[in-house]
């Protein structure tokens, strides 16, 4: 018996990261800004995007890639608010989107007519934090029905995100949710997080969010 060792020392995410780098370069060349929306299920990502598309799609040219384990319900909802392609990725069981899926989805999007790409990731506060999709930034969305300690329970997601949306603030009068504590918890794991407080249902706080989206879509590399 002759046992020998094959030395590898390769990062498991290396292949995904290589593809993500190619996606990032492709989007940069096309002048498209990509934002990766990550959250737990039910935080209001799709509602926030519905509002965003209704307000800004004609002005900006927004494409959306949605990821769901089953169904393309989110894509169907968003399609009502835009004539632009909303591409649904049904992961068939996987708990996150990966850069290979985004690479394939980009082939179905008219990048020339697009300035902003939203990637609505699978609702999951764990796995999507580890997968680079070639986005400019991750935006973590959570809601006032989820508890102030979400950032402490799922720190990696908040560490990997540059922006945070605290949604469903219209429900605050009915809850014991402490907004200041939630923001303090988030900033304890990521001091640089920029916050948006929104209600996708009533529209409260959306003006600032929409201003941010406009700014994010400003032409850069085209």
């Amino acid at each position: 018996m002759a046992v020998r060792t094959i030395d590898v020392r390769e990062r498991v995410m290396a292949r995904n990261d290589e593809l993500a780098a190619r996606v990032r370069e492709r989007l940069l060349q096309a002048g498209v800004t990509a934002l990766n929306l990550v959250s737990s299920p039910g935080s209001g990502k799709t509602s926030l995007l519905e509002r965003t598309l209704a307000a800004l799609d004609r002005e900006l040219g927004i494409a959306v890639i949605t990821g769901d384990v089953r169904t393309q319900n989110d894509a169907d909802r968003l399609e009502r608010h835009t004539t632009r392609l909303v591409h649904a990725v049904v992961t068939g069981g996987a708990c996150h989107l990966d850069a290979m899926q985004i690479t394939a989805a980009l082939d179905a999007i008219d990048l020339e007519a697009t300035r902003l790409l939203f990637i609505e990731n699978v609702g999951n506060l764990v796995c999507p934090a580890s997968w680079d999709l070639g986005e400019v930034a991750k935006v973590v969305v959570f809601s006032v029905t989820e508890g102030e300690d979400k950032p402490l329970k799922y720190p990696k997601m908040f560490q990997m995100s540059r922006y945070a949306v605290l949604n469903k603030i219209d429900l605050l009068p009915h809850l014991d949710f402490d907004v200041d504590a939630a923001i303090a918890n988030a900033r304890a794991v990521n001091p640089d997080l920029e916050f948006f407080l929104t209600s996708a249902r009533t529209g409260e706080g959306l003006d600032r969010w929409l201003d941010f989206v406009r700014e994010a879509a400003a032409p850069v590399g085209r």
Binding site: A2, T5, I6, V8, R9, R11, V12, G93, S130, K156
Partner: protein, 83 residues
């Protein structure tokens, strides 16, 4: 589910590194898991051990080492080529 997808990727990488010209018995697969990699180690070990029961690894040992940092790496593969 996250751990299973990562374990599948480890197996894909390991399979790619096996010599194609000469059948070998895989003795062990060594993986380094960063403590801030967002991986539940016991669950990951279970997934990888289960996958390593299948060919071409059939019965290979799972060697996991926890390290500081956020990376997950396939560190090495031990093979017995019968020579």
């Amino acid at each position: 589910m996250h751990e299973l997808s990562l374990a599948l990727e480890v197996c894909r990488m390991a399979r790619d590194r096996l010599p194609g010209d000469n059948p070998v018995r895989v003795v062990s697969v060594g993986v380094e898991v960063g403590r801030s990699a967002g991986i539940e180690v016991a669950n990951f070990r279970f997934c990888l051990e289960s996958l390593l029961q299948e060919p071409p690894f059939t019965g290979a040992r799972t060697d996991l080492v926890e390290l500081d940092g956020g990376d997950l790496r396939l560190a090495y593969i031990e093979v017995d080529d019968g020579r």
